[in-house]
């Protein structure tokens, strides 16, 4: 009888072990005052090592032990949403500024914690900090920020005889450079239908926006539709490549020297510089028929989930993770452009790219934070489905935006 009981218990334990083994290794259910889980997008082993260092800095400063729960960027937000809805929320949550509005129901406003501890928020870059605010409430401390920029291949510009773009260049300069590329049988610009890229390029061209400054959607905005038609004309006249649903194509085309220029953010600049086999240049988005901002800025930061039972400890953790020391170390390692003003000089010094400081400063001045909306994830998906039809010239901008508006229920 005893033996049978023993066998039964062992079998049950084994079955339970199998089931538990299927769940995530860094379970969020065993968080405590001294042990918090931080969800973060991870792109590879070097990324993981850098973030592990950030996590370690928290316990080194006498804070709780922080365990990273990583996911690839493309799956991160789907996973996060699911986790937050099932009650297994990590305490520390990484979030992008343009998605903050989408997560206010699951994130904790942190203004009161900052006030309580006398935490100095003014040391953060104003644009970065404002990007993390929704309806006046702060939801995360920014670790990086930056306006959308154009990265270009200096060799190709020289080869086709085009003048290197200066920060603050205009649409006429862009068109003149494109003509040189065309004359040399080359394509200058890589089309992209990723939401932030499309929206930034059109904002620079004619000020058209699909998300208003207050965060409401305006998919039937005629100025934005005209902007799409302009992008389509670039494809038609050979200035730009055809768009692809795959958001990595522009970057790949740039690295493989198929195009002279593409859109990206400062968060990718240094890693891209290491990847390419030519001198990389960087400039602002050309301003066209607009007197307002000509690029969008965005950033990422760390917030606290609403379900977190240890918000004070989590706040301490995120202050360390965005401290001057940590952000300077990250800047020195050539990672994203820091969200703290005082750490930005280290990043400039470390970049070793001509004129990068003046380009970034000019772009920041000309930038507006890209506001989020509850439907911005859906909008992003719709741009990758419908945007290519507009950019590749199969449909007019107005027709495309009508389809998108229909799907958004607008």
């Amino acid at each position: 009888m005893k033996r049978r009981l023993l066998v039964g218990v062992t079998a049950a334990a084994a079955a339970w072990g199998l089931l538990v083994g299927c769940s995530s290794s860094s379970s969020t259910s065993n968080q405590s005052k001294d042990k918090l889980v931080w969800s973060m997008w991870i792109a590879g082993s070097s990324d993981k090592a850098a973030w592990q260092q950030v996590a370690n800095s928290v316990s080194a400063q006498g804070g709780p032990k922080v365990t990273i729960q990583g996911a690839p960027f493309n799956d991160y937000f789907t996973k996060l949403r699911t986790q937050l809805s099932t009650g297994s929320a990590p305490c520390v949550v990484s979030i992008q500024s343009l998605r903050a509005a989408n997560y206010t129901d699951v994130l904790r406003p942190i203004d009161s914690y900052a006030k309580k501890g006398g935490f100095d928020l003014s040391a953060f870059d104003t644009t970065a900090l404002n990007g993390m605010k929704v309806d006046g409430k702060l939801y995360a401390l920014p670790y990086d920020t930056g306006p959308m920029l154009l990265f270009y291949n200096k060799d190709l510009f020289k080869q086709v005889g085009a003048e290197e773009p200066k920060p603050g260049w205009k649409l006429a300069d862009f068109t003149a450079a494109a003509a040189k590329f065309k004359a040399a049988g080359k394509t200058m610009f890589a089309s992209s239908v990723a939401d932030m890229n499309l929206e930034s390029m059109i904002l620079g061209y004619n000020g058209g926006r699909v998300i208003k400054a207050d965060g409401t959607l305006d998919p039937s905005n005629p100025t934005f539709a005209k902007g799409l038609d302009w992008l389509s004309s670039l494809v038609k006249n050979g200035t730009a490549t055809q768009a692809s649903a795959d958001n990595d194509t522009p970057s790949n085309n740039f690295v493989s020297k198929k195009v002279g220029m593409y859109l990206d953010g400062p968060w990718s600049l240094l890693s891209q510089k290491d990847k390419v086999k030519f001198p990389i240049g960087v400039t602002t988005i050309p301003a066209g028929h607009t007197s307002g901002p000509s690029t969008f800025s965005a950033g990422s930061g760390f917030g606290i989930s609403k379900q977190c039972a240890y918000p004070d400890q989590a706040f301490k953790a995120i202050t360390t993770m965005t401290s001057q020391k940590v952000l300077t170390t990250l800047a020195r390692q050539g990672r994203a452009f820091p969200g703290r003003t005082a750490a930005q000089q280290t990043w400039y010094d470390n970049a070793h790219i001509d004129g990068v400081e003046s380009v970034l400063k000019t772009a920041q001045k000309a930038s507006a934070p890209l506001p989020g909306n509850k439907q911005s994830d859906q909008l992003q998906q719709l741009f990758s489905q419908y945007g290519i039809q507009a950019v590749n010239g199969q449909q007019s901008g107005a027709e495309t935006m009508k389809s998108i508006a229909g799907q958004l229920g607008q």
Binding site: V7, L19, L84, Q242, A245, Q378, Q385, Q389
Partner: protein, 329 residues
């Protein structure tokens, strides 16, 4: 009587074999066991059976039965990913049927199935028929043809995207030979679905080919020889001898291919994200978008149940129709 009891206690066939091959004395010994001990013996054995089946049964219950029942319940509720849930009855189904995009994705899924299933079966059956034992190194060919099936689909998609994209292999080849640009397959509404189907056939025919190849090998040589002696051509031998003989395998492959093709997601999602527009958006991607982008789990579950009913109906029709053409020996 004893033999029957033994079989009932342990359904495994080995038990019957043991009784058959055991020395006569052993069999008698079993027969002579006292009647009183048998229920305990039977109980212990079934207990062990249950213990061995437990990990699988618990897994099946937790990860299959519970989610299926839960999704049915959720499909009758307004269930946003975060926030309160309310019972709405058939409201989700009504919304689904009122949504024009839903009918577009149903049409796309049907287009995919109609293109993919016959192509897959023809290619796999054709190659299996070609790979007769007379082909030298046929095992190497079999492995080569099976490789796409075992390669992760994501890797396949990356490679196929390089073939399809402007300046990709197809475009570059056409430019250098004919001086013409190939269409932008994945972004052109005329070509996108064909491009997705072609990639899927390449990635999926290996499995069916292996089934057909094994079935063809099992056709008795005597039947083929008899047909040949009667003067039947190779074509006639295939259609009138081999095909009926492997019809159960063809039925199985058709059913499985139909079911999986209705559930297609990875290829269109990774190649085109469902675009251009909604040209390649399938039912499963619609369910995924509704659930994870729009965060309407109730509506997504209703979509999943509609898909289930479609698959169930088509499978049932298949089973009814099989009597006409499937021959079981």
């Amino acid at each position: 009587m004893t033999a029957v009891t033994t079989q009932q206690a342990a359904p495994a066939e080995e038990e019957v074999v043991t009784v058959k091959v055991a020395a006569p004395g052993t069999a008698i010994a079993v027969d002579e066991e006292p009647e009183a001990r048998r229920p305990a013996e039977v109980g212990r054995r079934s207990w062990w059976g249950a213990a061995f089946a437990a990990p699988h049964s618990i897994g099946l219950a937790l990860f299959t039965v519970v989610p299926i029942v839960a999704s049915l319940v959720v499909s009758f509720m307004n269930w946003p990913m975060i926030g309160g849930h309310t019972w709405t009855g058939l409201e989700n189904y009504r919304r689904l049927f009122d949504d024009p995009i839903f009918w577009v994705v149903v049409r796309n899924t049907a287009e995919y199935v109609i293109l993919y299933v016959p192509l897959n079966l023809v290619v796999s059956l054709g190659l299996a028929a070609w790979l007769t034992p007379r082909i030298r190194h046929r095992h190497i060919f079999r492995v080569l043809f099976f490789i796409p099936t075992i390669t992760p689909l994501v890797a396949n998609v990356v490679v196929w995207r390089m073939l399809y994209q402007p300046d990709g292999l197809i475009d570059a080849t056409l430019q250098s030979t004919l001086g013409e640009h190939a269409p932008n397959f994945l972004a052109d509404d005329t070509w996108a679905m064909f491009a997705v189907v072609a990639m899927s056939v390449w990635a999926g025919f290996g499995y069916n080919m292996l089934i057909f190849s094994a079935a063809l090998d099992a056709v008795p040589d005597s039947q083929i020889e008899a047909a040949q002696l009667d003067g039947a051509s190779a074509w006639r031998t295939f259609w009138h001898v081999k095909f009926p003989a492997i019809s159960p395998s063809i039925f199985f492959a058709t059913m499985m291919t139909l079911i999986t093709s209705f559930q297609v997601f990875t290829q269109p999602f990774l190649l085109t994200k469902g675009g251009p527009g909604t040209e390649t958006e399938t039912l499963v991607q619609y369910i995924y978008n509704t659930g994870f982008q729009n965060q309407q789990l109730g509506l997504a579950s209703a979509g999943a149940w509609v898909l289930f009913v479609i698959i169930l109906g088509i499978t049932a029709v298949q089973f009814l129709g099989q009597k006409r053409w499937v021959h079981y020996e």
